[in-house]
């Protein structure tokens, strides 16, 4: 796996590079937007980590440029110091696959990189059971086994939990979730989704102690994060 890292701060490139190498991948660092776009034209990458504020071209400009210029565009993680809710949803809606605000823990970053590089997410849905951390999903019984107990979920709750586990550490848009679980994108159901997420969190005790946390990306969607130092 080859990962391109663009950031105007060499410390950050160094920091991210170490994480990538620890995962067993290779990386190339670029300190400005223009050199990254040149590299993207010449070379193939499996993932791009983009800073927003860079000399040359900004992250957002590169994101837009990639849509037209790069064939079979690799997934993009936007990693920036901009924390405003509007910035996050803007970047995600512009096509970024994930958004990480600096500073972030290296384990979290590693998990998010892995999530995007994970393949055949759909295929694993065919398995009758799946294990995520301390959670065992039984797709036939539609139950989740955790802490020695079978937790009963409604059909929609199970479907939602399954979707989130399969896409753990990925940011899922509300629209995607609604269309996948409810097969509708009607906006009226927005409270329904909130309530379901809340019930899953409560029933499955998805909290840092158990190695997971549900994170709301305001104005965009949800992310089930894994915490490696949990439990």
């Amino acid at each position: 796996m080859r990962i391109a890292i663009a950031d105007d701060d060499p410390e950050i490139i160094d920091f991210l590079g170490k994480i990538v190498e620890a995962l067993g991948y290779v990386y190339s660092g670029y300190s400005d937007g223009t050199s990254l776009t040149n590299a993207l034209l010449r070379d193939t990458f499996d993932l791009v980590i983009l800073d927003w504020n860079m000399p040359g071209k900004t992250g957002m400009q590169i994101l837009e440029w990639m849509d037209g210029a790069v064939e079979d565009r690799p997934p993009v993680i936007m990693m920036t110091s901009r924390t405003a809710k509007q910035d996050v949803s803007d970047a995600l809606n512009a096509g970024a696959d994930d958004y990480i605000t600096k500073p972030e823990d290296k384990n979290v970053i590693a998990a998010r990189i892995n999530a995007l590089l994970r393949r055949n997410v759909g295929a694993s849905a065919m398995e009758p059971t799946a294990e995520y951390g301390d959670y065992l999903l039984n797709r036939i019984e539609q139950t989740v086994r955790h802490g020695g107990k079978d937790i009963a979920l409604t059909a929609k709750e199970f479907e939602l939990a399954d979707l989130m586990f399969r896409n753990r550490d990925r940011t899922l848009s509300r629209r995607y979730i609604m269309e996948t679980v409810w097969r509708t994108n009607a906006h009226l159901a927005t409270r329904t989704l909130d309530m379901h997420v809340s019930r899953i969190r409560a029933k499955l005790a998805l909290k840092p102690e158990n190695g997971f946390r549900i994170f709301t990306v305001f104005g965009y969607g949800y992310r089930l994060e894994t915490l490696s130092n949990g439990g």
């Binding site: 701060d9 504020n53 110091s81 901009r82 809710k85 409270r191 946390r213 130092n229």
Partner: protein
Amino acid sequence: MRLRQRLGLEWLAVALLACCVVTALTYWDGLSRFDNLVYDQLSAIDRPVPQSDVLIVKIDEDSLAAFGKWPWPRTRHAELFDQLAEDKPAAIGFDILLSEAGDPDDDRQLARSMAGNPNLFLPLHFVFPGSNGAEYDVKRPIEIFSAAANELGQVNLVFDTDGVVRRAALCFGDKVSGSEWPHLIEEIYRSVHGKPSPAYNRLQDCDRKLLMPFAQRGGYQSVSYAALVKGEVPGAFLEGKVVLIGATANGLGDQYPVPLGDGGTLAGVEIMANLYGALSRDDFVMPMPFPLQLLLSLLPVWILLIGFWRWRPRTTIIVSFALLLAILLASVILMQFALWFAPGTALVGVILVYPIWGWRRLQATSDFMDNELQNFHRSKIDIPIMRSELGPVDVITGQAEQLTHAISHVRDLRRFIADALSNLPDPMFITDLDGKVKFVNRLAQAGMEDGAQDLALDDMLNRFVSPDGLHEVKEYLEQTNRPTKQDYVDFTSLDGQIFAMRRAPILSDDGKLRGHIHYLADITEVAHAAQQREEVLQLLSHDMRAPQAAILALLDGREGDETSGRIEGHARRTLALADNFVGLARIDASEFAGEDILLAELVAEANDSLWPLGKARDIRCEVDDQSEGAFVSGEPSSLYRSFVNLIDNAIKYSPDGGTVTIMIRVTELDRQPFVSVAIADQGDGIKKEMLGHLFERFASDDSLAHSSIKGAGLGLNFVAKVMERHGGHIGGENRRDGGACFTVLLPLAPYLEEQAE
């Protein structure tokens, strides 16, 4: 009162007055003297030719000279009748009263002589009032004469109020029941023609008097009584004629004033001759019946009254004179049709109504002008009204001059306002309801050589607003209701200035929409300042965060010695400080835009984000949620940050291994549903002197300033601002068993119908 109403009332009053006067004058015949004068003049125009078959036998001065003074012995009359009997006239009317007996022998002789004339008619008369309470007494000739006469007829004369005989009563009494007394001449007519006269047949009752035309004085053939008795008149002259015998000598008193225009009198017998002539010719003039007379008298008055509303005064006066002539002409024409229309009242009506109306109209207009001018003086206008300094004039002229001044003053004022608007320091323009530009001030017109008058609003915008802002501006202008929150729209003009455009309605006195004022405030400098502020905030939020993030990234790879731990702490504090500072600075920059938030979820996530912090010091954070899915309407980022601040504080001030409890409940405050979040720690609590200043900016516990636990200072201030913005509350207190407790109250969002799964 409005002028229109006042004039309407005045008009009604004038109309009513005119109608009353005309009706009263007609009813009481108040102008009969004038009318008679007119009648006399009109009747003189076309006098009838005397009937040739009438002969008057006059007891004149010659007769008196021949037979001595009156009364003559009745035998003298016997001689006359004997003479007449030989000449065979068609009828004889003897206009001498024979109602008392004389010498019996003489009476008998006369009666005998009378009997020799088969067509003799004798007069009877009435005495008013009658004896013994009767209405009248009938005085007949004594019996033997009555018996000798063919028929008796009444000879009453009808006097007008001026004592002139113009009319004749063809009968006396009650015609309807048949108990009337026909006139002597009518009886003669019947005898000669063998039937009642047509005029008599037409007569409905005896009270109706007919106007009779008079022939020239002395027009009827006449012979002297003396000459007839002496046999000086040839018999053929009398044969077949109607002979009327009566006194004409002045001394005998049988003389009456008649409308012959010369002021002279006419003998009763000649009046009878005229009556016979009128009966034969059937040319009586009929006085108009009262309703018709009234109607015709009112007609010209109403023509004028209605005309007052439509015509100018000049026309009205011409019409008035024309009406006067028309009334007289109507009298003349109707006279040709044997109808008498008395013109007096109609003339008086027309003459009366014009000046009265003119007076009332002038008065009303004058009062109105006075009133309006007073109002005008009273209205608060800064430019003093110029007073007329001319010499004394009449009231109306004075008012007219004042009005002129008022108008010129208004003109001044208009120019003043126009100048003021035109020189406004910001561009503005006014559109009417059709969206046409009706007024443009100097600045708004800049760069438009051809002016902007009557330009459509869209064209006006195209010349002013840069294409980027056009859509937004139009959207603002299309709003029908005025927005309550932000009643303006920002745009960049074609030459790069930034304007805030605001539209306000122009209403008429009675609240109807007349158009809109568009005011463009030049906010270029303000906008640039705001932009600079935004750049500073950007610098703080991003450019200050970036190096901190780099520091943390650098430290991440290292083994955790004490120094790197402290560096990390300082870096994180700087980050929090920047976040809170920017959050505070931005908090009121935008409108509150609440969205549905499941509060328990938000709190749980804020808590989750701080888990590593608690874990490092073995502090447990327990969330006790009994809010049952309560939603609040809020801004997720600032709320999230607030709870992070609060829980972060609780963890900071907790002893190692302590517990932070977070309780979420649905509660009520002033009967409004709220969601409460209480965050309690087991630390030392809040110092007394701090309690009142917890949420002030940079309030931080001094005693902790030197310890390793340090607050950002801005954190609680930020939380308080956020809660205020959400319509919520925050309070901090110490629990009885020690430890601080912060409670946040947020209004519960309205319940929505839960969507089916």
